[in-house]
């Protein structure tokens, strides 16, 4: 058994933890559950790091090219058509190993943080069970060898996300948010599923290896089938990729399927850090990256990826500038950053910069995971302290929560892209990739970067500066809450120095790190301007923001109301789905279909009632009927039938 097969334990441990905590946790492990969950996650983390070490430094690369290693692959369900089957397996390649590290590290941090954060809550064992389930699903997702396997874990992360968002199940808003998250992503998954079907049936396999190999070879049977079939003027390949991308966009909260993400903040904050910042939401990016060679074949699909990503980045950043709920701001910033990753993949489609966009995207994914979870955990600590999510209830916390303050600041600097924090490096690469292939996207991204700096520091100043408020709490939190903040802060500082392009690239070859200092001037200046503006507006409590908002008028209002997407969705679901389809369907079933059944019964009874006069009780009438029947029969037979 080599280390790759040990990777199976990366999946099995959280699963085991889920089963044990889920079944026996409440009764026998109510005290031990956090330790149990954290310990198993620590083991997973160690295994992941070991696997990463082995893969990247020992045997992943063959002749300078990182080869995918299939540690395990077993057919799980065979469809009996072409080679279609759902296989379960473990695929180790640069991005999956990178994701393993990200997920397990962040998850471990969240486990640790939760020990303090969830103290005293009900159902802590269940909480840890769900966390384990999520970790299992997410790890399984990245290790998938098969398009369908990814779909399976895709759904599982959705479900565990549902369970975790709705963890405070007595809160109606949490229930609503959990439903919304599941249903919206499920809606996107529908497209994903159809995309999988198209891809699988046309290409004849669900296996990533086979798919990539077949489709990148234009002469192969699968490629021909993909190109020849089509619908509405687009080839099957385009359809499949676009549909699969929609699935990814749903999970990654891309425009216009993003509406669930801000609401999902109803979940416990550590959960948001894990799921809605670092891991699950980047699944869409991961999916596109996983199929990157195939996406590259289709310019249209790449355009879609690019523009959805770019517009989401900008859109979310604009909204984030107006929100006052600390977690919602972070949620929109997450959406914005994922937009970056997405369009980075999209612009990686053409020309020699292909590798750059891909690497940049993954790099940003990597760094973003750390600083965003840091921000979320920091926000969690703040919320834990303040007992409110609203920034307007906060202020002056820098003295009360010094460690949180510092780590939060590091996170903000990282996400804003201030050198030398992690976000700077990855964002620079993304901007570079955009610059090289699509100028318009580049300018959008640049503007967004400035906005990012602005709203992040707006958040920062509103929480930690401004005037003091009265708080009941006077402890910053337990060690278990502080430790993750510290560790993540360190990672947020250091992650940018990882020579990422040495390890992850579109073709598996190590490439040199692109660093153009002169190119970085524009973004950095803009970022500093953004920070400056935020400081000017929000460092002290004043009426400048209100004035500014008033001067922006309806645009501000629109952004504040999230550009009315929620209203639009409400309209679609309530007015159209419920009122226009559901209600008529239920009505038709009761009145028409069931009505027809009842009517046939009633008609029979009515007929029975109508003919009761035939049995008049008068014997002479009986005899008359008798006689007439005989005569009629005879007449019919004699004159019509026989003649």
């Amino acid at each position: 058994m080599n280390y790759a097969q040990f990777a199976a334990f990366i999946l099995l441990l959280p699963l085991l933890s889920f089963v044990v905590l889920g079944i026996w946790g409440r009764r026998y492990l109510s005290k031990l559950a956090p330790w149990f969950g954290t310990a198993s996650m620590a083991a997973v983390c160690a295994l992941s790091l070991y696997a990463a070490f082995r893969y990247f430094f020992v045997d992943g690369s063959v002749g300078g090219v990182f080869q995918p290693i299939i540690a395990m692959q077993v057919p799980w369900l065979e469809f009996g058509y072409k080679n279609l089957s759902i296989d379960l397996g473990l695929l180790l390649d640069p991005i999956s190993v990178m994701m393993l590290v990200v997920i397990s590290v962040v998850s471990l941090m969240v486990h640790l943080f939760s020990m303090g954060y969830m103290k005293g809550e009900d159902r802590v064992p269940t909480y840890y069970a769900f966390l384990s389930l999520f970790s299992f699903s997410m790890l399984g997702l990245v290790l998938s060898v098969n398009l369908f396997q990814i779909y399976i874990f895709w759904e599982l992360v959705g479900a565990s996300s549902f369970l975790l968002i709705g963890f405070f199940f007595t809160k109606p808003s949490a229930v609503a948010a959990s439903k919304k998250a599941f249903i919206v992503t499920r809606f996107a998954d529908l497209f994903f599923l159809i995309g999988i079907l198209i891809m699988g049936i046309q290409a004849g396999s669900f296996d990533f290896g086979v798919l990539l190999q077949q489709l990148t070879n234009p002469a192969s049977e699968a490629s021909v089938a993909m190109a020849s079939a089509g619908f509405l003027g687009l080839s099957a390949l385009t359809w499949a990729l676009v549909l699969i991308f929609i699935g990814g966009a749903g999970k990654s909260a891309m425009l216009p399927l993003h509406i669930w993400l801000p609401d999902a903040m109803e979940g416990p904050t550590p959960v948001s850090a894990l799921i809605h910042a670092a891991t699950m939401v980047v699944a869409g990016v991961y999916l596109v990256a996983r199929l990157f060679p195939v996406f590259q074949l289709d310019a249209l699909a790449m355009q879609v990826v690019t523009w959805v990503g770019a517009s989401s980045a900008l859109f979310a950043a604009v909204i984030a500038c107006t929100q006052t709920d600390i977690k919602r701001v972070l949620a929109y910033s997450t959406m914005s950053q994922i937009g970056y990753m997405m369009f980075s993949l999209g612009v990686g489609g053409q020309g020699e910069t292909a590798a750059l966009g891909y690497t940049a995207s993954m790099f940003h994914l990597f760094t973003h995971a750390f600083f965003k979870s840091l921000l979320f955990l920091g926000a969690g600590a703040v919320i834990h302290f303040v007992h409110s999510n609203d920034m307007r209830d906060m202020g002056g916390l820098r003295r009360l929560m010094p460690l949180t303050h510092i780590s939060f600041l590091i996170g903000c600097l990282a996400i804003a892209g201030v050198p030398p924090f992690a976000g700077f490096f990855s964002k620079e690469e993304i901007l570079l990739a955009a610059w090289q292939s699509n100028k318009l996207v580049y300018y959008l991204a640049l503007f967004t970067a400035a906005l990012t700096a602005f709203y992040m520091f707006r958040l920062y100043f509103m929480i930690f500066w401004q005037a003091d408020k009265q708080y009941h709490h006077h402890s910053e939190g337990t060690l278990s809450m502080k430790l993750p903040l510290l560790l993540l802060a360190l990672l947020s500082i250091s992650a940018g120095f990882v020579p990422f392009s040495q390890f992850v690239s579109a073709d598996g070859r190590a490439t040199a790190t692109h660093m153009h200092w002169q190119f970085s001037i524009a973004p950095v200046v803009l970022v500093i301007l953004g920070i400056g503006l935020a400081a000017w507006l929000y460092r002290q409590q004043n009426d400048k923001p209100a004035k500014l908002a008033a001067s922006l008028g309806s645009f501000y209002k629109g952004a504040y109301r999230k550009f009315y997407f929620d209203e639009l969705y409400l309209f679609v679901t309530h007015r159209i789905l419920f009122k226009m389809i559901g209600k008529p369907a239920a009505w038709a079933d009761k009145q028409l279909v069931d009505g027809a059944v009842n009517a046939s019964g009633d008609a029979t009874l009515a007929a029975a009632q109508a003919i009761k006069g035939w049995q008049s009780g008068k014997v002479q009438q009986y005899l008359l009927v008798f006689l007439l029947a005989v005569l009629l029969l005879a007449a019919v037979l004699l004159f019509f039938w026989l003649v």
Partner: protein
């Protein structure tokens, strides 16, 4: 010759023996009713046993009377049914002033049916038919005090006489065109001329009257309702079965060459009987009237089987009637039991029976399920074979109509079941036969089997047996 008569006519001889015994006894002043019942039942049992002992076939009286295995079986069924009717009537008869006459009349009609079955000649057939009908009218009138009984009897005798008139009219035309009343000669002599068509239609109408097929059924419900329950049972099972047995053989053999004439007639009668019978049965409140209309619908189903015109058809009809005999008598037994002990006869009165007396309710339910043709009761097999036989001719319209009518009929059988099981009585009629069945049901059934006054349980036992369909393989007989 005499040995032949004794052998071939042994069922009839036995019946005649009972009749004479009763007659002389009556002349001698009569005896205790329990003894009379014992004698009659014993005689019927003996007749039944005699009927089973030997298998033989032959003819008597210059080809007027014939017998074979099938006929013997059919007669045995009739005798058995008569025995069961006698058992279920015993409590009622015992309270009646003219107990002896009831048995006299009943055995006479039974004798008439046996002759009718064995007839190989229209004259013989006619004699048997009348012997089987006229005393029945008297039996219908047996509740001398009840107005309805008299009305029913009057309706019956008038209708029956009219039907005989039509039948005879038809027979006269057949005789006129062929010069024979012998079945075998008729079969070869019939050519399908218009006069013969007229005659055949009239004869079919006569049959239709006796089996109460729509539109010749109008007397049925009134008579069934007016008559005492045991007589209704007798009418609905024995007269109907007997005439149907004859009908099938006459139709297939004597009128075989005129199939194109009667086929359409039978189809019309079948569809009419099913539809009208069902539609009327849906509405009924009185159990007897309800069963009357249900029996009309059953005739419709039987006629569907008859329409198949093949070996399976006649076998299916016989099989179905065997099943019908048990099911219908079972239902009547319970109706009689309840009517006897409480005087109640409407469906509403049956509400909550399952609570008061679960065993009775279950058994009536089984009987009704059998009538409706629900597995695992034998009724399912009966209906299945009938419809399967009927489909043999490829008249799918008929089969589809029949299949749909099955649903309607199920509806009203379930109405009774619903009343018994699912509805609760507003005011409970205290302890409706509540004493029975509390302890040792099976043992009690066995014990009372030979005690006529508790006939219900005996019948029910048989019903249970018959629900175990495996025991009956009559269908094999013809093949």
């Amino acid at each position: 010759m005499w040995t032949d008569i004794l052998l071939l006519m042994r069922t009839e001889m036995m019946l005649i023996l009972i009749i004479f015994l009763l007659l002389f006894w009556k002349l001698g002043g009569g005896g205790r009713v329990q003894i009379v019942q014992a004698v009659v039942n014993g005689g019927l049992v003996l007749a039944l046993l005699l009927g089973f002992v030997l298998s033989d076939s032959g003819e008597l009286f210059g080809h007027m009377f014939r017998t074979n295995d099938l006929l013997r079986l059919e007669k045995n069924m009739l005798v058995l049914a008569a025995l069961l009717v006698s058992l279920l009537a015993s409590q009622w008869v015992a309270a009646h002033r003219h107990a002896m006459e009831f048995y006299l009349l009943m055995i006479s009609t039974l004798l008439g049916m046996c002759f009718m079955l064995s007839s190989a000649n229209l004259l013989m057939f006619y004699l048997g038919l009348e012997l089987a009908s006229i005393p029945l009218a008297a039996m219908v009138n047996f509740d001398l005090q009840r107005k309805q009984s008299a009305e029913a009897a009057f309706k019956m005798i008038v209708s029956s006489a009219f039907a005989s008139g039509i039948l005879l009219f038809g027979i006269s035309w057949l005789y006129g065109t062929t010069g024979t009343v012998d079945f075998d000669s008729l079969a070869t002599a019939l050519t399908g001329s218009p006069l013969q068509v007229l005659g055949v239609v009239a004869v079919l109408a006569g049959f239709g009257f006796k089996m109460s097929a729509v539109p010749f059924h109008l007397w049925t419900a009134d008579v069934y309702e007016g008559a005492p329950v045991p007589v209704t049972a007798y009418l609905s099972v024995l007269s109907k079965s007997a005439i149907l047995f004859v009908f099938v053989s006459v139709l297939y053999t004597v009128f075989g060459s005129m199939q194109q004439v009667w086929y359409i007639v039978i189809c019309v009668l079948a569809i009419g009987s099913m539809l009208v019978g069902n539609l009327f049965a849906m509405r009924q409140q009185n159990m007897k009237r309800f069963l009357a209309f249900s029996s009309i619908a059953q005739v419709g189903f039987i006629l569907v089987g008859v329409c198949g015109v093949n070996a399976t058809s006649s076998a299916a009809v016989v099989f179905f009637l065997l099943v019908y005999l048990f099911s219908n008598l079972g239902a009547f037994a319970i109706v009689q039991h309840i009517s006897q002990s409480t005087g109640k006869e409407t469906i509403d009165d049956y509400r909550g029976l399952a609570r008061a007396n679960p065993a009775l309710a279950w058994l009536l339910a089984i009987a009704l399920f059998s009538l409706a043709g629900i597995p695992p009761t034998a009724g399912f097999f009966g209906k299945f074979f009938l419809l399967l036989a009927g489909a043999g001719k490829g008249t799918w319209f008929l089969i589809i109509v029949a299949a749909l009518n099955m649903i309607v009929s199920l509806y009203y059988y379930l109405r009774v079941v619903k009343a018994m099981f699912m509805e609760t009585q507003a005011s409970r009629t205290g302890g409706l036969c509540g004493r029975y069945f509390h302890h040792g049901f099976v043992w009690r059934c066995l014990r009372v089997y030979f005690q006529p006054h508790a006939s219900v349980e005996a019948l029910l036992l048989i019903l249970l047996f018959h629900a175990v369909w495996l025991s009956i393989k009559i269908i094999l007989l013809k093949n």
